[in-house]
Symmetry: C2
Subunit: 369 residues, 2 copies
C-alpha cells in the first residue's frame, strides 16, 4: 500500500485540556506543495471525525484523498501557492497517538487509560507538530465538521500564530440534539459485548456496535432529501424471498449496511468513542468564563470563512450564523455562506461546485465575478 | 393494576396481507361513551407503534391514557357524542395477538414464526374486531403515526363502512430516510446477543438493543428545537467526577436513557421488530397496481382530516401535503393542517392547544370563529 504519511514526535509530554497527560505524542501528517519561510504560505488542515491525513493524492500516494477536489495544483486550495499540512487528529487511529496506541509506560495499548480527549487537545497536538516541523506561523487554519471545531480551538488558543480561519459545517458548540445522536452511537458500541469495556484484542473489537454507530452516522451526515433522490423506495432484488423476516429489503438499507461494514473494519472503536465525545464537550464559551463572545475574542484572525449547508441538521444554519457573528464581534472580517447543497452535513466532501469556488475565492482574497 | 381492556376473538383465521395465516386472533380494545345503533356514532381509533389501547382514563382504569387531553366528556373527541373504540394493534404486546402470544398450533410463543406483519393486517384485525362486536359501520376512523397509516389502509380496504377519516402525522408511504432510521433501530435489537434470533425467554429479551432502539426512536419523534428549549447544554451534577470516561454528562442524555430503560422493560422486542417494519413496507401505491392515485381511489370518505407538523422529519410536511392531495383526488373533502408545533412527530401527544381545537372542529363538522 502506498503511504504518503510522515510522522513527527512532539517535544515533551502533552498535558491534556481536561487534566490528563500523555508522556509522548506522535502525529501523522501529509503535506502538499512547498513550504515558504517558517509558514508564510502554510495551510493547516484539520479533519472530521473519521478521515486520515490523506486529504489528497500525491506522488507518494496516488489514491484519492477525502478532499481530492479541493487540494492540488490549480485547485481551490492551490498547492502551487500553498503548503498544505493535513493532520491526523490526536486520538485517531491512522498514525497519530490515540487509545489504540501503545502506552510507553505499560507497553500495552492505552485503551480507556487514554486521558479524556478534547478538541483543544487535537488543536494543541497540531500546534506541537507544526512547531516541531519548524512552522511558527501559518497563513490559514482550515477544517470541516470536527475539523472546524479544531480550527476554532486553535484560533482561541494560539492568537498571533495564524492569519485567517476557515470553518465549514462546524459550530461554537453542539446542540443537545447532536449530543443525543452521538451519545446513541457510543451507546451502541459500548453495548456490544465484544467491546469488553474497551479491552478487546486489536482488530477484534465491537464490529456490530461500530456498524450500528456508523449507520446512524451516515444518516446524520446526509439529508432526507438526498436519500429520496438517490434511493427513493427502490427494493433490492429477491427481498421477498429471504428467509430472515427482517432482512434488508430496500436499497437505502443495503447502501448503509455496506458502508458501515467497511467502516467497522477500518476504524478502532475506542478511538471512535474518544473522538465522538470531543464534539459534545467542546464549547467556545469555556474559553470565556462561560461567555461565548468572551471566548471567541481570544481569536485574532484577520479574515474568517464560515460556511454551512441548508440541509445540515447536525450543525444547522442558525449555528453557522451564530458562529459568523461571534467571529465578526472578535474583529475578523467574516465571509459567511449558506450553501443549498442537498448532501447535508457531509456536503463539503461531495458538492465541489458549491464548496470549491467558495474556498478558492476566500483564499484568493478577492471576490469573483 | 386497574385494567379497562376488553378482548374479542375474531371469527375464523386471519389471512395476512403478505401471504401468511393466523389461526386465531384476539384483539384487546378499550371503549368510551355509548354505542348508538350498529356504529353510527363510533370512532375507531388506531395507535402509533408503541401505545396500548389505553388512550384515555375511564372508571375502570383512571390512569391517564396516551391521548388523555383528546378523549373524554366535552373533550375534542367528545365521548358524550361519540362511542370511541381504541384498538391494540395486531402484533403488539398489550393484549392483542402478536409475536409474544402463544401459537395454538405449538403451545409456544410465535416469536419469528409470526407471519410477516403489514399495516393492512392491523386494519383487517380491527375491522374483524368491530364486526365481532356488532359494529358494521363507523362514523370516523382516526389514527396518528402508524395509526394514520392504519387509517389509510382501512379506508382503501373497507370502503362503504365509514364516513370520515382522520390521519395525523402519517404518510402514503415511508421515505428512505424513515426506513433507514427504523432499520437502524431494528439492527440494534438484532445485534444484541440477548435477542438470540428472537428466541429469548419472556421478560428476558435484548434490553440493551431495545434501549438503543428506543433512544433513537425518541430522537426521531421529537425535534432539535424542542431539545434545545428543554435541555440546551445543561450538564448533570457530578458528571466530571464519574470514573466511566463516557458516562452521561448532559441532561438530554439522562432524559433519553431513563425513558429508554422504561420502554425496554415494557415492550416486547419481537413485537417491536414486526410493528416497526410495517411502516417501512406500507405503500398506498400497492393498492393501485403501483399507482398511489389509483390506490387511494379505493377510499370513499366523505371528509378527511390530514394534519402534520412543521418539525416532523419522520413524516415531513411534503408528505402530508401529498396525502391531502391524494385524498382530495379520491373525492374526499379534505381539511388540511400544517401545525407549527416544536415537538416534532410526536406533537400530537403533547400539543393539545393546536391538536385539540383542530380535531374538535373537524368532528363538529363546522369551522370555528
Amino acid at each position: 500500500m502506498p503511504d504518503a504519511r510522515r510522522f513527527v514526535e512532539l517535544q515533551g509530554p502533552l498535558r491534556t485540556y481536561r487534566g490528563g497527560e500523555l508522556p509522548s505524542v506522535t502525529i501523522a501528517y501529509e503535506t502538499w506543495g512547498e513550504l515558504r519561510g517558517r509558514g508564510d504560505n502554510a495551510l493547516l488542515l484539520f479533519t472530521g471525525l473519521s478521515p486520515s491525513a490523506h486529504a489528497a493524492s500525491s506522488a507518494a500516494d496516488p489514491s484519492p484523498g477525502w478532499w481530492e477536489y479541493m487540494i492540488g495544483p490549480g485547485k481551490p486550495i492551490d498547492t502551487e501557492r500553498f503548503f498544505v499540512i493535513a493532520i491526523n487528529s490526536l486520538g485517531s487511529c491512522f498514525g497519530s497517538t490515540g487509545p489504540a496506541s501503545i502506552n510507553p509506560e505499560t507497553g500495552q495499548a492505552y485503551r480507556l487509560d487514554f486521558p479524556k480527549l478534547s478538541v483543544e487537545d487535537i488543536a494543541a497536538a497540531a500546534r506541537g507538530a507544526c512547531l516541531a516541523l519548524g512552522i511558527d506561523h501559518v497563513h490559514t487554519v482550515a477544517g470541516c465538521s470536527l475539523g472546524g471545531m479544531d480550527v476554532l480551538a486553535y484560533g482561541m488558543m494560539y492568537p498571533g500564530t495564524y492569519r485567517d480561519l476557515i470553518s465549514i459545517s462546524a459550530a461554537a458548540n453542539a446542540t443537545p440534539f447532536a449530543i443525543a445522536l452521538r451519545s446513541i452511537q457510543r451507546e451502541a458500541i459500548r453495548a456490544d459485548p465484544a467491546w469488553a469495556g474497551g479491552n478487546y484484542a486489536p482488530g477484534n473489537g465491537p464490529k456490530d456496535g461500530m456498524r450500528i454507530a456508523r449507520q446512524l452516522g451516515i444518516l446524520t451526515y446526509r439529508s432526507p432529501e438526498e436519500w429520496l433522490q438517490r434511493f427513493d423506495r427502490e427494493r433490492i432484488e429477491g427481498a421477498d424471498a429471504q428467509r430472515d423476516p427482517f432482512a434488508t429489503a430496500f436499497q437505502v438499507q443495503s447502501y448503509m449496511d455496506a458502508n458501515a461494514r467497511k467502516f467497522a473494519e477500518r476504524f478502532d472503536a475506542n478511538c471512535y468513542l474518544y473522538l465522538s465525545q470531543t464534539m459534545d464537550l467542546f464549547d467556545v464559551a469555556d474559553h470565556g468564563g462561560g461567555n461565548p463572545e468572551a471566548g471567541m475574542r481570544q481569536v485574532d484572525a484577520r479574515r474568517a470563512l464560515v460556511a454551512g449547508v441548508t440541509t445540515d441538521w447536525l450543525y444547522p444554519l442558525w449555528q453557522q450564523h451564530q458562529l459568523a457573528e461571534l467571529l465578526a464581534h472578535a474583529g475578523a472580517s467574516v465571509s459567511y455562506h449558506e450553501l443549498e447543497s442537498i448532501q447535508g452535513h457531509d456536503a463539503f466532501l461531495i458538492d465541489k461546485d458549491r464548496f470549491g469556488p467558495m474556498v478558492a475565492e476566500f483564499l484568493a482574497g478577492m471576490p469573483r465575478g
